[in-house]
């Protein structure tokens, strides 16, 4: 619940800056009679975030600064990959994509839009696939949920994210696009009639250093790692479904 609130607070704060999301307009919702839902999880295993270097800014920019920054980030990536390896071994039988798919099927039913809860899971995404799926869909709109799951840079939290966008198939929904057009590129971000981003965290460990956190996690049974990630998937699905039921302000 605490994390769910964190998501909602983040969304509310987002409204104070440049709009980072679009809710569904009430008139569009009335025309949204059916929906196809596509979940995209291209990761094969849990990732490890890094604190990216800002060396290029500190050195005033330029190619030398960029190279230094790349070198630092590369070293941090190598370290993170070494630390996460034993944790990946423990979680080898856990399928985050399938878990989130099930949670979304349960939560999206609340939208009361025909077929919204029938979720297709894609583990890879060829260029052009979203456009083709929109062109070939028989629904009013296609919902794309692109999700990632990682350990935080300090290895103290499980982090699940989703970038969500709803694209119209029916021409009577075109007027509600973020930028109205009728070209053949139907999966451009500006074609959406709804979009938002979600980030859910679950606490795992609170030791001083990431190396200590990683070592502690590597000693845990699988359930103590997959449990928080399953919970993150549940919260993510609930947050997406709840957010999609909010009408855009007039």
């Amino acid at each position: 619940m605490r994390n769910f609130l964190a998501v909602l607070v983040a969304l509310s704060l987002g409204a104070c800056a440049t709009p980072s999301f679009r809710h569904i307009e009430p008139d569009a919702r009335a025309k949204l009679t059916s929906m196809e839902s596509v979940l995209i999880v291209t990761q094969s295993e849990i990732g490890a975030e890094i604190n990216t270097s800002k060396a290029s800014v500190a050195t005033g920019g330029g190619i030398v600064g960029a190279l230094i920054e790349s070198g630092i980030n590369n070293a941090r990536t190598k370290t993170a990959e070494e630390l996460v390896a034993p944790i990946r071994d423990i979680m080898i039988d856990f399928d985050f994509g399938a878990t989130l798919e099930q949670e979304l099927e349960a939560e999206l039913a609340a939208l009361n839009i025909a077929n919204a809860q029938e979720v297709t899971l894609l583990r890879g995404l060829e260029a052009g696939t979203p456009n083709t799926m929109i062109e070939q869909s028989g629904a009013s709109a296609v919902l794309f949920i692109n999700s990632t799951y990682n350990l935080s840079a300090e290895f103290d939290e499980m982090v699940a994210t989703a970038v969500v966008a709803l694209y119209p198939v029916s021409e009577n929904l075109y007027p509600y696009k973020e930028k109205v057009d009728a070209d053949n590129k139907r999966a451009e971000l500006s074609d959406n009639i709804y979009r938002n981003t979600f980030r859910v965290t679950q606490p795992l460990s609170d030791l001083d250093k990431k190396e200590e956190n990683a070592a502690a996690l590597a000693e845990r049974p699988a359930s103590e790692l997959t449990g928080p990630l399953s919970e993150a998937a549940k919260i993510l699905a609930r947050a997406i479904a709840a957010d999609m039921q909010i009408d855009a302000a007039e």
Binding site: S44, E45, E69, S70, K78, D95, G97, R123
Partner: protein, 185 residues
């Protein structure tokens, strides 16, 4: 002063050239087995692995999983098993599907099951991972997970870069296989 590699301006030029070349390269869709990175494998290395025989090499990745969608250059990985077979043979291991073995009595006979194979990009780096279940080809032999991982700078996501990265990961896997087959294992 002696340097182990190119100087900064050399790296910068190499990066720029790679980026420009990448812009002219068609989108990669498959792995090329012939491009498997074997240049660093000596005849001595191959001989050292010749006591290992792979009785079965199976693919048990998640269904439809892609090898990578790194930076808009998707690789399906549908030909990964061919690449693995070629690359393991090139490193000196014998494989049942490609070679007929009459006498395996003095060999370490194993079964390999591929669980994960992927390449990810983070910041300016890429990381490739190959994960296998390994077990002795004996009834009820216990399985063990072995993992190869290689992270390095991602200059331009080219096919050769990807092959080299996967090849380095496979080197780690082969080291794991050698440890598994060591007498004290």
């Amino acid at each position: 002063m002696t340097r182990a590699g190119p100087n900064i301006s050399g790296w910068a030029l190499a990066g720029l050239c790679s980026a420009l070349l990448a812009a002219c390269t068609p989108t990669q869709t498959t792995l090329a087995p012939a491009a498997a990175n074997l240049t660093s494998v000596s005849e001595g290395d191959r001989q050292a692995m010749s006591h290992i025989h792979i009785a079965a090499l199976t693919d048990n990745r998640e269904k439809d999983a892609m090898l990578t969608d790194m930076l808009g250059r998707p690789m399906a990985g549908t030909d990964l098993m061919d690449w693995l077979s070629t690359s393991l043979s090139g490193r000196g291991l014998t494989i049942a599907s490609t070679e007929t073995q009459s006498d395996l009595s003095d060999k370490c006979v194993i079964e390999l099951e591929l669980r994960r194979a992927y390449i990810t990009a983070q910041a300016a780096s890429k990381s490739s991972s190959l994960v296998f279940n390994i077990r002795k080809a004996e009834p009820d032999a216990p399985a063990k997970l072995i993992r190869g991982n290689h992270s390095n700078m991602n200059w331009s996501s080219t096919n050769s870069e990807t092959n080299v990265s996967l090849g380095r990961s496979l080197d780690e896997v082969v080291d794991g296989i050698a440890d598994f087959c060591a007498p004290d294992e």
